[in-house]
């Protein structure tokens, strides 16, 4: 290249040997690289049907880098072809799919509607990808790029490399490690995508996955595949001098590309209240019939999910209560995990969700302190688990009248140790164990005009079965309310009045 004229990129200059070169220094580098590739190998690969960028990949002089992305496919081809002055120009095989990368590095693919999409430069390609990403309506300012390609590519590449090894066994460029099709695509399109999407790239919480799959999927039976790979392996070992037609699959159709966007889950924390004795904590269905009239999980998740435009939700709570037990007082801490949310709701919209739930007609469930939290939320749930204490109010009936001395005998029991065998009502799904639990304190509240009923307030260790502590579970929980008072005791209803967590 004699003329060092400064030209704006995009201008072309006619050089002495009839070549056309852009003034841009990057493209000039690529041109020089193209000329420096082993011409014999280039000719072989071109005639086999390997695409231009794959040639750059497979016969590397230096590392394959993003400069290559700045040059269009057709320009690359003209540089590679014209390196060979002896034979005339090869038949224009621009329209054929590369036998190795199946069109991926040629920026050719079929879209969801089975239409063929051809783009020449990486920025055109990036523009098409951006269109597809925007369809999903995600809000993001940074992304991570992932690519997945059909496995046939590895096999075909191996066949081509073994052929080259056989023919050019002494060349140095054979030993250089080749960049895979996946990595090459990422190198080529990352910068244009960043520009086109207007976002940074990092291994962030939002991923764009480009999934290439074979157009005619499942065309081959599994047994056929194994036979093929066995044959290919022997070829690789022998380093055959010509590529046998059987050692790789000729694919004539470009791959199907689908773009999947996925956001890592986001979390919301808060405390919920359960005012109904007919609402379960999570969705409970037996034999196609729902138990209870609603569930806390569905009421909370069903209201938060639309505010995030997410795909689905998962509900986690710090403990649980039975369907017929109300959750009052300070509420129970919970987490809602939203999968693939498209937007993070504002404080205002979270307030609206809270109000909607709290002001609903039926007043089954309440919520407070709803807010978005980061990944430290799990630590929050675990925190105080060992010291978690729960407070309850139980309506108790006893078979003899309550006496004044009973009030004292009950409230004097501090840090009472009880032994609970696994209650019969959960024995079908839990291990039969003896669990030692602590009742921290108890207080009796009399009910006027009725000496057989009273309200029992108690504070217990997490994991204590309150109902069984009151009625004794056929004597399998000792001591029980009945054994302490020396009579029969039954629990009529139960409410949770406090769930103590480390933070409150």
């Amino acid at each position: 290249m004699s003329d060092e004229t400064k030209l704006a990129s995009g201008d072309s200059v006619c050089l002495p040997n009839g070549l056309v070169s852009h003034g841009d220094s990057r493209t000039r580098r690529v041109y020089e690289t193209a000329r420096s590739l082993h011409s014999g190998a280039v000719k072989d690969l071109l005639s086999l049907g390997v695409c231009e960028r794959c040639i750059f990949r497979l016969i590397p002089v230096e590392a394959f880098d993003s400069d290559v992305s700045s040059v269009s496919t057709s320009t690359l081809r003209s540089w590679l072809e014209s390196g060979d002055d002896e034979t005339g120009p090869l038949e224009s095989s621009c329209s054929r799919i590369c036998i190795v990368c199946l069109g991926i590095l040629q920026f050719v693919f079929s879209d969801a509607k089975q239409k063929l999409v051809k783009t020449d430069t990486s920025s055109d390609y990036a523009a098409r990808i951006t269109e597809l990403v925007k369809q999903d309506r995600h809000e993001f300012d940074s992304f991570g790029l992932e690519v997945s390609v059909p496995s046939i590519i590895i096999e075909n590449e191996r066949a081509v490399l073994s052929y080259l090894k056989g023919k050019y066994s002494n060349e140095g460029w054979l030993q250089i490690k080749k960049i895979s099709v996946k990595d090459a695509l990422k190198i080529l399109v990352l910068d244009p995508l960043r520009a086109s999407l207007g976002a940074k790239s990092d291994s962030s919480t939002f991923h764009i996955r480009l999934i290439y799959s074979r157009a005619s999927d499942g065309a081959q039976g599994a047994s056929e595949k194994t036979h093929e790979s066995k044959r290919r392996k022997t070829d690789a070992e022998n380093g055959s001098n010509c590529i046998s037609e059987n050692s790789f699959e000729k694919v004539y159709e470009p791959c199907l590309l689908s773009v999947h966007c996925n956001k890592m889950p986001i979390f919301f924390s808060g405390r919920y209240f359960k005012y109904s004795r007919n609402v379960s904590q999570s969705r409970w269905i037996i034999d196609d019939e729902r138990m209870g009239e609603a569930s806390v999980e569905e009421i909370l998740g069903g209201n938060i999910l639309p505010a995030c435009l997410g795909d689905s939700y998962k509900f986690h709570a710090a403990g649980r209560e039975d369907i017929d037990v109300r959750m009052l007082g300070s509420g129970r801490p919970f987490l809602i995990e939203i999968q693939n949310s498209r937007q993070c709701p504002s404080e205002q919209s979270l307030k609206e969700v809270e109000e909607k739930i709290n002001n609903s007609e039926k007043k089954l469930v309440g919520v407070k302190d709803l807010r978005c939290v980061g990944s430290q939320c799990w630590a929050m749930m675990r925190e105080g688990e060992a010291e978690k204490q729960k407070q309850y109010a139980a309506l108790v009936w006893i078979s003899r009248p309550l006496e004044d001395k009973d009030l004292n005998s009950i409230s004097s029991l501090i840090e009472l140790k009880i032994l609970q065998k696994t209650p019969v009502r959960v024995l079908h799904r839990r291990s039969p164990l003896d669990r030692e639990k602590i009742i921290h304190w108890m207080k009796v509240e009399k009910i006027k005009g009725n000496s057989h009923y009273f309200l029992l307030h108690l504070c217990t260790q997490a994991g204590t079965y309150i109902k069984e502590f009151v009625h004794g579970d056929l004597g399998r929980t000792t001591p029980s309310m009945g054994s302490i008072l020396g009579c029969r005791a039954e629990i009529i209803q139960l409410d949770v009045t406090d769930v103590k967590m480390g933070d409150s």
Binding site: K446, N450, L474
Partner: protein, 229 residues
């Protein structure tokens, strides 16, 4: 029904009175701030009391009519069945079946053993091929549980007069036997229907459906024995 507020239950951790910061002389700003603090503390206290009142109202509002004698936990959670004259005349037993499929087995009030003078004095779980009271069932899958047939022996109960064999009546896995009976056999005389239960068995759904046909309901039992229980 009016609820009396004597013996108000208070969380012993909550202070009865909140200490207010002592007022210092000098700076007006300081005074202002402290007044604010006082006000806030009073507000917090008021809120807390309000919340507690709200809670108490919720707790008490739900209490409707209170029956003199409510149904027991057993009656609410289990369906009661009986089997009479099982393998031998007078061998009547109850089977409480829970909604989760588990069956609690015990001696029915009309069991022949109760007719003997002095009632039951002893129980021995060492029958058949093993001592039922030493079986260790573990895990959710209930490993090592004895697979019993309906006529598998559970235990022997002895009175002054005689010894009677108690059988499973239900085909399934034996999850537990009431080993408290070994040291306190009088539980059988005093409350055979509660603390004096004998064993807990987990039948398979198909086995239960077949078994159920040989059992009778509480009503049928009463009729049969012409009792007013």
């Amino acid at each position: 029904m009016e609820i009396q507020k004597i013996e108000v239950a208070k969380n012993p951790e909550i202070e009865d009175a909140i200490e207010l910061p002592k007022k210092r002389s000098h700076d007006e700003v300081e005074d202002c701030e402290e007044q604010q603090q006082q006000q806030e503390a009073q507000e917090d206290e008021k809120n807390r009391v309000e919340e507690e009142d709200e809670l108490r109202n919720l707790l008490l509002s739900d209490i409707g009519d209170l029956p003199i004698s409510p149904p027991s936990a057993t009656q609410v959670n289990f369906v009661t069945y009986f089997i009479t004259d099982f393998t031998k005349s007078g061998h009547d037993q109850y089977i409480y079946r829970h909604a989760n499929g588990l069956c609690v087995i015990g001696l029915a009030p009309t069991h022949i053993a109760f007719k003997d003078e002095g009632g039951i004095t002893n129980i021995d779980f060492n029958v058949g091929k093993s001592d039922r009271s030493v079986l260790k069932v573990s895990g959710k899958r209930k490993k090592n549980a004895l697979r019993s047939e309906s006529n598998t022996a559970l235990c022997k109960v002895s009175t002054a007069k005689d010894t009677y064999i108690v059988r499973c009546c239900v085909k399934g896995s034996l999850l537990e036997v009431n080993d408290r009976l070994i040291k306190q056999p009088q539980l059988l005389n005093a409350s055979a229907d509660r603390e004096g239960y004998i064993a807990i068995i987990m039948p398979r759904p198909t086995d239960w459906t077949k078994n159920k046909e040989s059992l009778i309901t509480l009503e049928e039992y009463k009729e049969k024995k012409e009792l007013s229980l």
